[in-house]
């Protein structure tokens, strides 16, 4: 341990370097925890609510790495290692569904053997299943399955993850500023001096010895504020949400990775995706009608009759992958993350961490933490893999029926507020008494407005409770905006019963509540 470096463990010395972490997604939250455990003083700054960026606009998987086994075996091995570590750290937000790679009639037969060999090379436990068994266990899948492989894929609740990481960071003495935006930096002599932050109606300056840019698809914009460039390739992926869990495992096509070939059961729903389209704007969340049709076509091959099932929403997220300087056009970008130390590029104390996936968020933070320690010539080994979280509960894994079971076990007979996701008044009261939460924040924490009715019945009830707790709560404006935002996703899948649901929702919000649509809703509407 060098004299300038922070000491291991608390209490934190006032002389320890101050690090500003930008971005409250999985990466930023993990970075905050990593650096706090190494003894740094940390402030995390997040533009919206925690986990409201790509970390929730994703496919829901804690990946075994199977998907990358053939194309990038080392990265696949990293996914597998991290999948195990994360499931051990936050079991209450991980559902170990298991994954299946299925080779259908139209998939290249040779790929299956290559897939198995690559999984073995990456140390991903893989087991070939008899197609007959798969047809029995997953009756919705196409009957043309030729071969099938089971791998330990899992699903993860991203808000549960970032909340657990940040609770831990706070317990370690870190500061978390949500609804604060980094608007600029103060630099002197090629070094970072301070970060300018806007939030809560004012702007202020936070002194910092080091800045970590973990702003996901916005990382290039943040770097630009410090006159640095980060070459990202932003690809938008769109996802269809179905009101059923038609499959019990996460299903992948066993073929070279392409678009629209994964069905993931998560919570009470299933996510099918994704498309892939290069975009310029990290705020792009618009799903085009053509994307819906191409998703449905891809989905029909995997699950015949998919068009007749109820899809109740579509949305998109933007993947932030780094473009290496010498990369040739058209070649798929490497998945593995990268840490950029901007010192050789003229700015000392500025780091960007980007690429990777949600699955590897902890490893990304570890890599970043090592480099920050190196920068301060501190010796403080990474402890995130082995230190339990403050909120660690020795519970089993997260299961979709949990809320029903707890209502029954605790004999809670108070009124239900959201029927789709079985959220009761006592769940809400606990959060509302903390104060400061809006409708979307409660949605992310409790899943109200997540189910097939998309808040048609519960949003008014919740707004009523918020208005009771805080007479200044702008209920009418908040409801109109909440509904307008939910409608954006709902109207993308307005067919079958969901077309009726959209009109029922319209009836309730416009005719019963007397609200007007807000056509000017921005892409970041639900985040602030």
């Amino acid at each position: 341990m060098s004299s300038q470096g922070p000491s291991k463990g608390a209490p934190r010395r006032v002389s320890a370097p101050r690090v500003a972490v930008i971005g409250g997604g999985a990466t930023g939250c993990a970075v905050a925890r990593d650096l706090l455990l190494r003894g740094f003083r940390v402030t995390l700054i997040e533009f919206g609510d925690l986990g409201s960026g790509t970390s929730s606009r994703f496919h829901g998987m804690l990946q075994s790495g199977g998907r990358y086994a053939v194309s990038d075996t080392d990265y696949a091995a990293e996914c597998m290692r991290e999948r195990q570590i994360v499931a051990g750290l936050v079991p209450h937000v991980v559902e170990p569904t298991g994954g299946l790679f299925v080779s259908l009639q139209e998939d290249p037969p040779a790929f299956a053997d290559e897939f198995r060999a690559s999984c073995e090379a990456a140390e991903i436990p893989v087991e070939e299943l008899d197609p007959e068994t798969v047809r029995r266990d997953e009756p919705h899948l196409s009957p043309t399955i030729r071969r099938a492989f089971a791998v330990p894929d899992a699903t993860i609740n991203p808000w549960g993850l970032v909340t657990a990481l940040c609770d831990d960071a706070r317990a370690l003495g870190g500061e978390i500023l949500t609804r604060h935006q980094v608007t600029g930096f103060e630099l002197a002599g090629g070094r970072i001096r301070a970060v300018r932050v806007a939030g809560g109606g004012s702007e202020r300056t936070l002194e910092a010895d080091c800045v970590v840019n973990a702003a996901g698809p916005w990382a290039a914009r943040v770097a630009f504020l410090a006159d640095q460039t980060v070459d990202l390739e932003l690809t938008k992926g769109s996802i269809l949400v179905f009101a059923h869990r038609f499959v019990s495992k996460a299903i992948n096509r066993c073929r070279p990775s392409t678009s629209h070939d994964i069905m993931v059961p998560t919570g009470t729903v299933s996510l099918f995706g994704t498309t892939s389209e290069v975009v310029d704007d990290p705020d792009t969340t618009r799903v085009n009608p053509e994307e819906i049709q191409s998703l449905l076509e891809g989905g029909e091959a995997m699950i015949p009759g998919l068009r007749s099932y109820r899809a109740f929403r579509a949305w998109a997220g933007v993947r932030p992958l780094l473009k290496p300087a010498d990369w040739s056009q058209g070649k798929p970008l490497p998945r593995r993350h990268k840490v950029i130390n901007h010192a050789p590029l003229g700015l000392s104390g500025f780091f960007t961490v980007c690429g990777g996936s949600l699955t590897t968020h902890r490893a990304m933070a570890e890599d970043l933490g090592n480099q920050v320690c190196h920068h301060f010539r501190a010796i403080a080994p990474c402890r995130t893999a082995t230190t339990p979280l403050a909120s660690h509960r020795n519970t089993s894994h997260w299961r979709p029926a949990e809320s029903f079971e707890s209502i029954e076990a605790e004999n809670r007979r108070d009124s239900g507020i959201c029927e789709c996701e079985s959220v009761s008044q006592s769940d809400l009261d606990a959060l509302i008494s903390e104060g400061g939460y809006g409708l979307h924040d409660l949605r992310r924490r409790l899943r109200i407005g997540f189910g097939p009715c998309q808040g048609t019945f519960c949003a008014g009830r919740v707004a009523g409770l918020l208005a009771e707790a805080d007479p200044g709560f702008p209920a009418e404006e908040a409801l109109a905006r909440f509904w307008s935002e939910r409608l954006k996703g709902m109207t993308r899948t307005a067919w079958g019963d969901q077309a009726r649901q959209v009109l029922l929702s319209d009836l309730v919000f416009r005719e019963v509540m007397g609200l007007r649509l807000r056509p000017e809703i921005l892409p970041s509407e639900d985040r602030r």
Binding site: G464, W495, P519
Partner: protein, 408 residues
């Protein structure tokens, strides 16, 4: 048994058509899956509340605004005189129907669930309208645990509009109160006057009006309101709740009872499926259990996309599932922004002639079939705020057309 008319759907338009046919001595059978959008609808009759094409300016006199509607709008198809005759006719029958309505011939501003001012042409007698509240001190009663009446919103919005509003919490009288249970509690209470007396001392002294969630009785509403006003000694009004809507259910029940009394045969829980055509005439409709219902004339009051009278597939194409009628649709429903999608889902529907008979390729498709309400195209219920008006006008007109057809 063959009937003079077979009505598909128990929406307001179907019930009005049945009433009007029965009054003219026709035999009527009504088959429906059983749901009705009335069970979601707020109190009152909405005739035409917002001006089309002006970004939603409130209409003063609905009849004066009819000419500004699109050419193929049901009101324009029927013409102002027929719309007025139907609405007046319905209004005149309110006593025999047992429906409490009041109107001054112009739109009034009612209080919505979120405390907004929304136009309504005829109000339920005890529906809260802003004109009754302004300048006064209102006491808003709510029941503990009644989650479908989010009183916090109403209070905040009334105060924002400078109305002195006080929230008064009442004990839950029925265990897990929902709107239906509360309404039944009042319906079955032996002495509602005594109940209201027992809460009288809760009223602040300067109160000028007492507001309740719209749960004061389903079948004995009038009596219960009278008891409340007498016991509390001031005007009592109701505010909308989240669905189910008790005022909508009252209207549904009054009409259903009336048509049953006049001899209508009701089959609820029946899903019409097949209807073989025969030279531009329809003879019978089957349901999914294979029963066949023969009739001289048919009224399609199936409730449009909302109630399943029209189906939309994942390519964005709409169809009419019973008769396979031609749906007028400018293109697939894949508009770019949410508002356009809503508009498209509302305005899609069956194209008819001015006697409400469906067309195919511009030609008459059936001579003894009449389409009403939400299954008609070219109108937009929430944008215009016209849902009951169109239902009454088209249900009424369809009945008259069916009678005219039968009388040769």
């Amino acid at each position: 048994m063959k009937t003079d008319a077979l009505i598909l759907g128990s929406e307001l338009d179907g019930l009005v058509a049945a009433l009007r046919l029965l009054e003219q001595g026709k035999s009527v059978r009504l088959i429906a899956t059983g749901g009705s959008s009335l069970h979601y609808a707020p109190d009152g009759l909405h005739l035409l509340g917002y001006e089309p094409g002006t970004g939603g300016a409130v209409v003063q006199n609905p009849y004066e605004a009819v000419d500004a509607l699109p050419e193929r709008h049901p009101y324009r198809l029927l013409g102002k005189a027929r719309v007025r005759a139907a609405v007046d006719g319905f209004f005149e029958r309110r006593q025999e129907l047992g429906i409490e309505l009041s109107s001054n011939g112009r739109n009034m501003l009612a209080v919505s669930l979120a405390g907004q001012a929304v136009p309504v042409f005829a109000t339920g007698l005890h529906q809260a309208i802003f004109a009754d509240l302004e300048g006064g001190a209102v006491a808003v009663f709510c029941y503990d645990g009644h989650r479908d009446f989010p009183s916090g919103i109403t209070i905040a919005e009334l105060r924002r509009r400078q109305i002195d509003a006080h929230l008064l919490r009442l004990e839950d009288p029925c265990g897990s109160p929902d709107s239906m249970r509360l309404a039944r509690f009042f319906d079955s209470h032996d002495d509602t006057t005594a109940y209201f007396r027992s809460i009288r001392d809760r009223l602040p002294e300067n109160s000028t009006c007492a507001l309740f969630p719209a749960i004061l009785g389903l079948d004995r509403h009038g009596e219960i309101m009278a008891a409340a006003e007498q016991a509390l000694g001031l005007p009592c009004r109701e505010l909308p709740t989240l669905p189910p809507s008790i005022p909508g259910m009252r209207l549904d029940r009054c009409l259903t009872k009336r048509i049953q009394k006049l001899g209508a045969l009701l089959h609820l829980g029946a899903q019409a499926i097949g209807a073989p055509a025969n030279n531009g005439r329809c003879d019978a409709v089957s349901d999914e259990t294979g029963r066949r219902f023969e009739a001289e004339t048919f009224v399609i009051a199936t409730g449009g996309v909302l109630m399943g009278g029209l189906e939309v597939d994942s390519y964005g194409l709409a169809r009419e599932p019973v008769f396979g009628l031609e749906v007028s649709q400018s293109g697939p429903l894949e508009a770019d922004n949410p508002e356009e999608v809503l508009d498209a889902l509302h305005v899609v529907g069956i194209e008819t002639d001015d006697r409400l008979r469906p067309l195919a390729g511009g030609q008459l498709a059936y001579e003894n079939l009449f389409v009403t309400g939400r299954t008609l195209g070219h109108w937009n219920p929430p944008k215009e705020s016209s849902v009951e008006g169109v239902a009454i006008a088209t249900g009424w007109a369809a009945a008259d057309q069916a009678c005219a057809y039968m009388e040769g």
